[in-house]
Symmetry: D2
């Protein structure tokens, strides 16, 4: 716990350990909304630069930290029903995070119904159900409509949505986990989902968990340019006309300029790390580990691991 900044309408808290930095941001009113450009709500980010290394011990630590944060957000008795939605396209590797997480969940709603002596809330097992609804190009149906239909029918107490995100910076790819109770914003995912999913749109509290898995080529270039400018500044001749000009461009302008210049050559090139298959595998294991711990208080990490095999 290292600090509490003071932006009006925003409460920020940061917690650092060797490998994980957790920041918790609460946007409390319209003033805060304007300052941060996001709707009111509670936002938690886990930054784990070494997550890309796929170290099993770190995976375990991150899963446990994630579970703690999720428990605070969800905060419901163990008998309330949770529906987990894995957004994204299972045929597009960097967009397959949501479906891959759902595949590794301890889905139990039917077990509590049909085998109540073995699976019940007294053993700390919650009724959890899950769905990977696919994407518009696969189903022809707006994903939000499928979710609404299922939510209306099975009436869960809580919905958790998992999505692969487009990063605004290359360093964030597969290294940050973003959680919020303000839902999924339209167009933030890898596949440019059109609809938002939030408490307002589906009538049930929603927590969204996202991990950036792609970045567009213009962002890569823009990030590199920024780093070069900083580097030049640090090294040398601060008066030169070169970064005088570049520094006068604000971030948005520079990014826009790069996009326009790149476009004729590569179009809307969105890229992902070469190792994306194993990154998705490891990230989905980390998220499902955290979800299984958070949702089923009676199940240990070891039991979850055995199950995941």
């Amino acid at each position: 716990m290292t600090g509490k900044e003071e932006i009006p309408g925003v409460v920020v808290e940061t917690e650092k350990s060797r490998d994980i930095t957790i920041s918790r941001v609460r946007i409390e009113n319209e003033e805060g909304e304007k300052a941060l450009g996001k709707p009111k709500g509670y936002y938690v980010t886990l930054e784990v630069p070494r997550l890309r290394e796929k170290d099993p011990e770190l995976t375990e630590e991150v899963s446990k930290k994630l579970a703690e944060e999720l428990k605070v957000m969800i905060n419901l008795p163990v008998d309330s029903i949770v529906l987990v939605i894995g957004l994204g396209n299972w045929n597009v590797t960097p967009d397959s995070l949501g479906p891959k997480v759902v595949e590794k969940l301890l889905v139990t709603k039917h077990l509590l119904e049909f085998m109540p002596e073995k699976f019940n809330t007294k053993k700390g097992i919650r009724p959890v159900c899950a769905l990977a609804p696919g994407v518009l190009g696969i189903t022809g149906i707006e994903t939000g409509e499928i979710i609404k239909g299922v939510v209306e029918r099975i009436k869960p107490d809580f919905v958790i949505v998992i999505d692969a995100l487009a990063a605004r910076s290359i360093e964030r790819i597969s290294t940050t986990i973003q959680i919020s109770n303000s839902g999924i914003q339209p167009g933030s995912g890898v596949g440019n989902r059109r609809m938002g999913i939030s408490r307002e749109s589906i009538g049930v509290p929603v927590v969204a968990i996202g991990v950036p898995t792609v970045v567009d080529a213009a962002t890569v270039a823009s990030d590199a340019l920024d780093m070069m400018i900083s580097e030049f500044e640090r090294q040398a001749k601060p008066g030169s006309e070169f970064y005088k000009m570049l520094k006068t461009l604000n971030i948005g302008e520079k990014y826009q300029l790069i996009r326009e210049v790149l476009y004729p050559f590569v179009g809307e090139l969105v890229v992902t790390p070469k190792e994306i298959d194993s990154l998705i595998e490891n990230t989905s294991r980390t998220l499902s580990g955290g979800l299984n711990l958070a949702l089923h208080p009676g199940i240990s990490y070891e039991e979850v691991s055995t199950f995941l095999q």
Copy 2:
């Protein structure tokens, strides 16, 4: 067109070509229901013994015949919305037929909405949408509930359900396509689905398409025994005590006897041909070919094939 049998309340019609036998059965009243042990409705079966050979020309022929039969069953203007549901578990090869068919469909509902100049009903393109809802063990939700929720939300005019079936005879595996407008019967699928899906349960007309992909070991044994008895009878000494006894057993008893005897050794062993991966691939291609032709009157087999690549 070779015949019309006379069971009260049942109209039967058979059409044979070199490779395909089509039988069309209409059960018209309760008398017919009792006689055949199935609910009222229209049942079409395509028997294609050579379908297991994966001959591309035969695949084309069967797809076209299937399309003709489906057109009769569906019989709706080109602007009515069809929802195709691929039942089954994509992680269990012999149960993955439904999801595999859905993957190869020309899904168009969103295209007609967002690119109406290119995709429209005047070009013979129907609004088609599709869903592979998974199975109870994956979602924790009764599949019928997911379907009801989605149907209520998007209000299609017609629902087509695809499922892999348990065969009652080894010869039928991957060689027969069964279509009916009476819906899916509970427990008929590979995964023993609990709920039926029919016009009554979801409020929209339903056509079910099924292909047997598994058979239980007791059926294999029972079939073999029947064939041996016939063979013995054909060859020899009709008075022997041997088949006297066996012939006194009716089919149900014999099957039950074999099940009981086998059970302690192999449990409820359900088997599938060794080549099931390629059989499912070829069968799903055949079914999706037929569906694409039946649903989009403006699209040719060649266009569908190109798309399927």
Copy 3:
């Protein structure tokens, strides 16, 4: 350790625990070869009826037992090179056992060469390499030729061959692990491999590990018939003409008879359990667990498990 039978030229030993029966058969001379119809050599079979249940604790126990048996068979210093060959076709689920095992091996030969400070024989890490050569239909090359070429080039001290087998009885599917130092017999695998692989054919000691994953329909029928005959005998009228006749047929004849009768209806139908995807997954985990323990004496089951994730 429960017994030692006396067939001339054959030494048999059996060890039973709750879930696992291990039989070790040593065929010592030509007399023994004739009696058992197999070449001279050491044959170990692990029978684990509950292996189909995919219980993680049992998987661990079987892996450890397998490792012990393999260590006796291989019996080489830790610096000798072992090449593991995963036979079979990765596109045919029941034939994909070998490639799946290879995928889960701790392959280390290159690590000992390039990172000797971290990976070395003093830490109990052996130089292991592996290959899944594919099958004739995929490569156009006799698999034995690929293996010979690679063996001649890299000169391993020992070769281990993994293969999916055709069972001679339905109960054995995915419940028995067969190990021998007499190599792979031609035609015993799921894909009817033409060539044998043995010390004689490739010039290096060979241990073969096989697990039955398929059975032909005639075997299913024949097994069922045998069980019915035993059942009838047990229950009743031992003098009847029925099993008098059936009992006069020896096993080979009966099987042949059933094959001939079935053939016109189903051809050479070879079947596999419906759950074959998860059976192959679990069996490959069990075998690779055992191999990793046997080959690398310095690595524990827990480390192997973590790696397998």
Copy 4:
């Protein structure tokens, strides 16, 4: 046919159509080797900017053009044996091009041996065999050693090697096909293969076919910077200190600078387009189409397509 440039020791020829630009470069002596920094040999590049659009007609056109170029390079009677090697790691999507091409080849060597009446050179069917040897991390064996072992054993007349490449420019990803008879250079592939594969190293003529599928983040940034400089130059004030400085950096220096600046933030980040799954699918189809046509003169594109289904 549009030109013939004059670099000593180098013959260049360019052919343009609407969608495809083919350049053929022959490096004839040491002078040419020095000028182009590549070994003597014949290099053909197909540039197809629209290849990323996955248009089936363009796929067909490119396959046919590729076949023509390959026929010139291979130029062997139909009865000579060709071995096709698909390099790369099938578990890493952008590195799986080689194995995916091999999967779609008409492999025939065994058919000519076992069914000579149906498959023979008089029908224009060549004996083709194929192998996907995996990568060092999977096998523990240098891939070149596996290839040498197999080549020595089966003695093909010609070897074709397929590999996914690291691009030196983002525009080239999945849009250019590079062919040469000088073999594969070490370290040019996605997975940084250590060994080269060439006529010298394996004793048989080699043609290498490569398609760029990845690019490193520094290249993306460097390309973007170059484009921005050109754009600034084109638009404005050519005297400014800004591009004076940047223009004084040569390409190598600039790239090196960016790498150094980026490294602390993202390491050796190598990226691939988000759509890599479908790009690999389409590219492998294009290459295997070209190979099948080039190798089997008696088989038409339509027959190949039917087979590829």
